[in-house]
């Protein structure tokens, strides 16, 4: 009986990174009704992909990052495969550089997120322009990038708690 409960708990906690990322995708698409924000809603799921890529890449495998990114593309009506690509690459880069971040203070992680976030938005801009077949104005994307970077500490605060909770199980 206990073994079953343990396995369920284990399974549940293993699913946390994927579920959190998926939830952030859904929340990111809810119409918020704030003037002007609709155009520059930050893709907050990027924060989760980055975070779990550093701390638990084993629980957010490449295929999961790909699938969640694709889910975002399908729902958002944007270029199919765009976020699948971005999430996949961000997860891979963070998973390969994770040793650098472990044990470093928080601001290092945040600074690196600014670089990764900027790179992700640059990629998005170039691919989106190619996809639409026209020059896409970079303004909204830049604001989106800034918002995402600003939101990083808030969301990681939540995810740190979740990570500690699932390591205990």
């Amino acid at each position: 009986m206990n073994a079953v409960v343990d396995r369920l708990a284990q399974f549940g906690s293993n699913a946390v990174p994927g579920v959190v990322t998926l939830l952030l995708v859904i929340i990111g698409l809810v119409p918020l009704g704030i003037p002007q924000l609709g155009l520059v809603v930050p893709p907050i799921a990027l924060i989760a992909v980055y975070y779990w890529g550093i701390y638990r890449p084993d629980l957010l495998p490449a295929i999961a990052a790909f699938a969640i990114g694709l889910f975002h593309d399908v729902l958002s009506g944007g270029a199919l495969g765009l976020y699948a690509f971005i999430f996949l690459v961000v997860r891979a880069v963070m998973a390969s550089q994770r040793r650098f971040f472990l044990g470093k203070p928080f601001y290092v992680e945040w600074w690196a997120f600014m670089v990764v976030g900027a790179a992700a938005f640059l990629t998005q801009w170039v691919l989106a322009s190619l996809y639409v077949g026209a020059y896409v104005k970079p303004g909204p994307l830049a604001i989106q990038a800034l918002l995402t970077i600003t939101l990083y500490p808030v969301l990681t605060g939540l995810m740190i708690r979740l990570r500690h909770a699932i390591t205990r199980i």
Binding site: V30, G33, V41, F66, V74, G81, F85, L88, V136
Partner: protein, 290 residues
């Protein structure tokens, strides 16, 4: 003592790494393949996409409700604060509208009389269908929203979508219980319009900004700020005369239109189900263009 299968485990490490690397490359390739397929409107990709959106629509519907409720609550608080000034404005507006009502009634009667005299064919009255917006587009280079009504509710691709202010856009893709609306500010939006002041035709072209452009006007067209822009009804699926906006600015020969819709207040929308007065002989049911 070594655990059985130790050799296998020792081998498994590098093999796993190779598989993982291979999977990564494969997934990257898949992402680019999807981008290409999606770019060229592959039918299978579109169908799959609609099926997924359909499946998730109820979830988005539930998730978006508390946010919408909170927004309404915030609006209510704001309304309370502005109650007195709003009331004065509303009274003033009501007085003006009552005068207009008299004028409108007279014109209506006059119109009916002329119609009867000339035996004019009246146009099919459009049917409306209300739906809720359940998701914004999460990408800054597309202007689309999802609504919670689809094929089973009678929504078809190409139909006009309005809200209480004016035209919002048109139905772009239809699933069983959800549909995607292409907003009139999107890069791909083209709407045949007519300038209410000069009665000249044009096309309203979205360019991903809040102010779509008015193009293909006849030469020496008279456009000036403040001109009302309405749908012309050319092309069939839009009824003529739906309000869109007013000309906001005319600069370097480019007229931009300020839509009546407030984009951030897009919660409930109305789909206009409209058919052109039929050209085919009666009894031959014409399928609505999908």
């Amino acid at each position: 003592m070594r655990a059985p299968g130790g050799n296998v485990l020792r081998l498994a490490g590098p093999v796993r790494a190779v598989i993982q690397r291979f999977a990564f490359v494969l997934l990257i390739a898949a992402a680019f393949l999807l981008m290409l397929l999606g770019r060229f409107d592959n039918a299978l990709v579109e169908r799959t996409r609609l099926a997924v959106v359909d499946a998730v629509a109820p979830v988005m519907d539930v998730v978006s409700r508390p946010v919408a409720a909170a927004n309404r609550a915030a609006d209510a608080v704001g309304d309370l604060a502005n109650l007195r000034s709003e009331l004065a404005t509303a009274r003033e507006e009501n007085r003006r509208l009552l005068q207009w009502q008299t004028v409108a009634r007279r014109l209506e009667a006059e119109n009916a009389a002329y119609r009867a005299l000339l035996d004019v064919k009246t146009e099919a009255a459009p049917l409306f269908l209300s739906a809720r917006v359940i998701a914004d587009s999460g990408a800054p280079f597309v202007r689309t929203v999802l609504m919670n009504a689809g094929h089973r509710d009678g929504v078809r691709a190409g139909q006009a979508v309005m809200n209480q202010d004016g035209l919002v856009g048109r139905v772009a893709q239809v699933g069983q219980r959800s549909a995607r609306i292409l907003l009139l500010s999107d890069l791909n939006s083209r709407i045949p319009v007519i300038n209410g002041a000069s009665q000249q035709r044009g096309v309203l072209v979205g360019d991903n900004t809040d102010l779509p452009q008015l193009v293909f006007l006849p030469n020496q067209a008279q456009v000036s700020p403040g001109d009302p822009i309405v749908t012309s009804g050319h092309g069939g699926l839009f009824p003529p005369g739906l309000p869109i906006g007013v000309v906001g600015s005319v600069r370097d020969g480019i007229a931009r239109v300020q839509p009546l819709v407030e984009w951030h207040r897009l919660e409930y929308v109305r789909v206009v189900r409209y058919r052109l007065p039929r050209l085919a002989p009666a009894g031959e049911e014409q399928p609505v263009a999908e």
